[in-house]
Amino acid sequence: MTSTARDPLLSVEDLRVSFGTAHGQLIAVDGVDFEVGPGEVLGIAGESGSGKSVTLRSILRLVRPPGHVSGKVIWRGRDLMTLSEPELRRVRGGEIAVIFQEPMTALNPVLTVGTQIRENLKEHTTLDAAGRQARAVELMDQVGIPAGKTRLEDYPHQFSGGMRQRAMIAIALASNPSLLLADEPTTALDVTIQDQILKLILRLRQELNMSVILVTHDLGVIAQTCDRLAVMYAGRVVETGRVAALFRQPRHAYTLGLLNSVPRADLVRQPLASIPGQPPSPTTMPPGCPFAPRCRFKVGPCDDAVPPLVEVAPDHRSACIRHQDVAGAGA
């Protein structure tokens, strides 16, 4: 467990992403800040359209035109936003690796898994051909693919969903990354396989002292996997802090609403505390707090201006005017 306050590995400052569309400028990410410490697992939670995946992709400049990204992404003292393409390529897939929700679209279907691992090893290590082969077998073993040596010669479609995700992790690990970006890595998997993959990621984090940013919509996954959490809503981080504190006492009305929406064992067949309405569309954002139209804590000033993300408790920030009342209401 590390505190990021001292020495972050990655820090994202005032990240903004917009897309020019026929209906005008669509703002997907609107001034996001966060930090990740060495060996830390940061969760980014949010519902569809909250901007969590776009945020993750922007870190490695994977957002393509008409998407426009601004802000700073400081990685080991350098701003990734201003790096040249060749410099960025050494970081992307090297020091920082990415895994996606659907390995079938991220893996190359016409190359064997072995070829894809060896390719990455060639790009990011100094190993010779024999060394790369040996390392590839080692990686297959490390991610828990049985009979790794023979399976290296299989194509992605010959793997099951869970094994494919393991193969993608093996490819990502080939470069010895210090940071793994994981975009909903287990959303498409069955619950027993999800459990295996999440525990694999945690084990690898320990073994390799790697940091992880895990994007997910599932608060259970966050609770079981992450050290710290950033909750996103309508393109902004609305609350961030340590997972234990944040789950025990949320200090943003949206986080509280999300936690209450999840069925609990002790309230069987009772109405759930759902959040009325739906998130605002990115083209018609309310002028004040984006959550205000759905919020049961709403007061007059909520509609006036977007509340800033401020420290409301040690290592706990919230963008909610009524954070004290929310904290009092409890999850």
Partner: protein
């Protein structure tokens, strides 16, 4: 189960198989057609007004079961009784009448609603097909239905694409309720929705069930949701029910190691309760080659010699109505 009221739905030894699609190479080589055993003798019953949850991972046959119940698939063998009549023998008008009484709501309402029909057209088609209302009464009924699922009145003249996911799911429910069914089969009803919207739909379902005395089969992979909604829960694995019990018993005192593993694997909301050990090893075997003996034995932490050869039967486990298919004498931890 009380012995006096007969069950609304009674399923006995339902078997469903599919031939596997063969590629050209397989055909030319004369390879035999492989058979996917989707359902291997399913038996259960549902009381009127009850919610039976059915959980299981992909490929366990839960959706096939739903489709057999509404006769979208014709089972290979077995028997389904609905309110005392044998469903699989129904023909013509009787079959249509059955299809009115048992309605299915799908996971993705967008693909189950006709994109070229307004909500009004879709609803009135259902109402007129079964001749439930005539003339002006149809319009009234549509207004009633929209109100029932909490959609604004002006929703009637809009097309499916104009709605959000949650609203579309409400339309799907309204469409099913339009024909005044007695039983709803909800196949992954809220799986595609965001958590906050999921809760809205779950509340709606609970409320409608109470108001309209619906019997519900709630099929889902999300254990938290199933626990919240169901009176009883059946756990499926590779085309068979491996455990069935009242919800609280199943979730607190599971008798089958697979149920125990599912519960352990479902991520809990409490960050203080973490484990670093995998809930269960291995992956789901292919339904083309279901392991002999107990189908769960290759992944089971309690496997014994007997499990590899002798398929366990569903047998009573102490509490009334609790059955499980496992050779273990003691409960898994």
């Amino acid at each position: 189960m009380d012995a006096i009221t007969p069950p609304l739905i009674d399923v006995r030894d339902l078997v469903m198989t599919f031939p596997r699609q063969r590629g050209l190479v397989d055909r030319l080589a004369g390879h035999p057609v492989q058979i996917v055993r989707a359902l291997n003798g399913i038996s259960f019953s549902v009381k009127r007004g009850e919610t039976l949850g059915i959980v299981g991972e992909s490929g366990c046959g839960k959706s096939t079961l739903a489709r057999c119940l509404v006769r979208l698939h014709e089972p290979k063998s077995g028997r389904i009784d609905f309110a005392g009549t044998e469903v699989l023998k129904l023909q013509g008008a009787e079959r249509r009448a059955y299809n009115r009484r048992v309605q299915m709501v799908f996971q993705d309402p967008y693909s189950s609603l006709n994109p070229r029909m307004t909500v009004r057209q879709a609803l009135s088609e259902a109402i007129s097909f079964h001749d439930l209302r005539q003339g002006d009464a149809i319009g009234q009924r549509i207004a009633e239905l929209l109100d029932l699922v909490r959609l604004p009145g002006d929703a009637a003249d809009r097309y499916p694409h104009e709605f959000s996911g949650g609203q579309r799911q409400r339309i799907g429910i309204a469409r099913a309720l339009a024909v005044e069914p007695e039983c709803l089969i909800a196949d992954e009803l809220v799986s595609a929705l965001d958590v906050s919207v999921q809760a809205q739909i779950v509340n709606l379902l609970l409320e409608l069930q109470a108001r309209l005395h619906l019997t519900v089969l709630f099929i889902a992979h999300d254990l938290r949701l199933v626990r919240h909604i169901s009176h009883r829960v059946a756990v499926m694995y590779l085309g068979a029910i491996v455990e069935l019990a009242e919800t609280e018993i199943l979730f607190t005192r599971p008798a089958h190691p697979y149920t125990a593993a599912l519960l352990k694997a479902a991520p809990e909301l409490d960050p203080a309760r973490r484990s670093i050990v995998d809930a269960v090893r291995g992956e789901l075997p292919s339904p083309l080659a279901i392991p002999p003996g107990c189908p769960f034995h290759p992944r089971c932490p309690y496997v014994m010699a007997r499990c590899r050869v002798e398929p366990p039967l569903l047998t009573p486990r102490g509490e009334p109505g609790h059955i499980a298919a496992c050779h273990l004498e003691t409960r898994p931890s």
